[in-house]
């Protein structure tokens, strides 16, 4: 039985631009990544609090005073403005293809959708497309044209090589401000490396959302038969009888995923598994629901 392609993947295959699709996807979301600054300060009511000496007198709710003859201060939720920094894996393993699109396409669409959402609520966005040979950086900005630059950067990437094993380069990709890091990768490069990545991010005081993107055939393995498989990073080939290796393969994969989850889950970091055969909008909804609000 073949699974029907998610509509946005179909649109991507038919040549629709990343920017258009990202906007289409984010149009469906009413709630953003976190509370933004677009509506102005203090717009969202939270609670009433008794007036205390030192409070700004302008914050006293006079209508409440007229009704209760007591001073109350109207409190609104604290508004934030953060930088969303995207790290996108551009190693060879991102060339893995299912239903006609590559893992990198899926990652780019997911990142672009999140970036569009963040940009709309006035957050600064930054982008780093990384492998151990080249790194394409887009500095964090909040400007009007930032999102267009973001799309452009993503559309001209060629995947090759591997994900860098050391994490020293991360020091060049951070700021003193509070940031949300979104990492789009298959995360198959070893749990230890990702653990140190997380530690580095948390040490800077940032929040980390790992988006691990895997294909249906990677998660459930190939259909029964004989298949010639190739490692995208090393180029090694093996011809296997899928039914005879499936059990062991799934066991190995599960073991690794559990190990990875333990390694990268922390107080301010979380790993989210996205399946390439699921619509990007669905994956984003799950991600946003989990994260709720900052």
């Amino acid at each position: 039985m073949t699974r029907e392609l998610p509509s946005e993947i179909g649109a991507l295959l038919s040549g629709a631009g990343l920017s258009l699709l990202a906007r289409q996807i984010t149009d469906g979301f009413l709630v953003g990544l976190h509370r933004g600054t677009r509506q102005g300060a203090g717009t969202e009511f939270s609670q009433y609090r008794s007036y205390q000496p030192g409070d700004d007198i302008r914050r006293v709710d006079w209508k409440m005073f007229a009704r209760s003859d007591r001073f109350f201060v109207k409190e609104a939720e604290i508004e934030t403005s953060i930088t969303i920094r995207f790290f996108i894996d551009a190693s060879s393993s991102m060339l893995y293809e299912e239903n006609g699109i590559t893992r990198f396409d899926y990652a780019a669409l997911t990142a672009a959708s999140l970036a569009t959402l963040a940009h709309r609520q006035g957050d600064a966005i930054a982008l780093h497309v990384v492998n151990n040979q080249t790194r394409t950086d887009l500095e964090a900005r909040r400007g009007k044209n930032q999102i267009s630059r973001f799309y452009n950067h993503l559309e001209n990437i060629k995947c090759s090589s591997e994900w860098p094993q050391d994490t020293g380069w991360l020091t060049e990709c951070t700021s003193r401000r509070r940031e949300l890091w979104v990492i789009c990768s298959d995360m198959l490069d070893g749990a230890e490396m990702w653990s140190s990545f997380k530690e580095m991010g948390e040490a800077f005081g940032h929040e980390l959302q790992f988006l691990q993107i895997l294909g249906e055939h990677e998660l459930n393995f190939m259909p029964a038969g004989v298949a010639t498989l190739q490692d995208p990073e090393t180029g090694m080939e093996r011809t296997v009888r899928t039914h005879s290796v499936r059990e062991q393969y799934l066991e190995n994969l599960k073991k690794y995923l559990d190990q990875l989850k333990t390694a990268v889950t922390g107080r301010r970091s979380r790993v989210n598994l996205l399946q390439m055969n699921h619509p990007v909008s669905e994956s984003l909804k799950i991600l946003l629901d989990r994260r709720n609000r900052l």
């Binding site: 895997l214 038969g225 498989l229 490692d231 995208p232 011809t239």
Partner: protein, 373 residues
Amino acid sequence: MIFGAPVWFWLLAAIATPVAVHLWNRKSGKPQLLGTFRFLPERSFAKAGRIELHEVPLLTLRVLIVLLIVLLLAGLFIPRESEKMETIKIIETSGEYSEVLTDTGILELNIPGRRIDEIGWWRIFEQIEYEYRPDVILAEGGTGLNRFSGKRPGLNAMVEWTGETSPADPDMSSTEPVDFRLTVRENLEDNRKQGFRFTADLWDANYLEETLRENLLAVLHKGEEEFELLEIERESDNADYLGAGPVTGVRISVNLFDDSIKVPNAILYSAVNRVPVLWEDPENNQRLWLNSEPETVLSAWFYSAAAQQLFKMAGASVSADFPELTNRQRYPLERTETMVSGMKEKSSAVTWLFILLLICWAAERSIAPKREM
């Protein structure tokens, strides 16, 4: 299973084509990228040198398609499995043919009297034994001598008469043996001679080859009498062929599935049950004029039938009810009805083969694009 044209089996070699395609496809199969490659266990890799067929179900379907096409061309014929009845009762009737299965499990066949006159009891018994393989045949009807032509066939079933009287054994009352001698023109082609010899053997006649005059094919000597078979040059058309059996008294019997006759089926279909016209000389009853040329491949049968007619004429001059063929003489023509029912069975096998072929083809077409093969 019988095959009408087994020569088509050479096409089975075409099975090698899908096998080769699948082997080739495996060799040239494009490797699929798998990001999680490193989680494959080290063991259980397919050995590179081992021949392993790719997409076995698809290959099976394709081989099946080739096989079905070959079976269709080879003319698969599945003989009918007849139903066994323990007891069959034959009742002579003045009405139409009918079958009734009684509560006691006896199958009653009502056969019109004129039909019994035409084909005789022995042939009816033979046919019933062939179709139902009964233990007992109960017969009820007239037992006139004309209904017992030829020798009593070797039946496995026990025949019990419930009619007027039990028949006398025709062998006991047969006419005196007649001394026949068939002389054939020696410069005839071998296949013609073969036909004459066949009929002479059937009639236990002496067979000779001598120089005869040009248009004389054969002479049958019965004692002092001579009966001539002559050849005339005459335009023949379809009207010159008469139906077999009741009209001419002779049938050419050809088993369509007889491997020894190397004839295309189309010729057989057109030739079966057609007998060359033998024109009797109106002034001299002891002459027959042969008025057609057979298909070369059938000429042995053709001249055999002509000679048969000559023997029949000679026999008729001895006594009115002479043309009684012995069981051996009758043997080939008894196969005619079997052959016809066999053809029906064959056509039904063709229908099923064709339906199966369509199903396989549809399945193959739906699977192949998904597997990119």
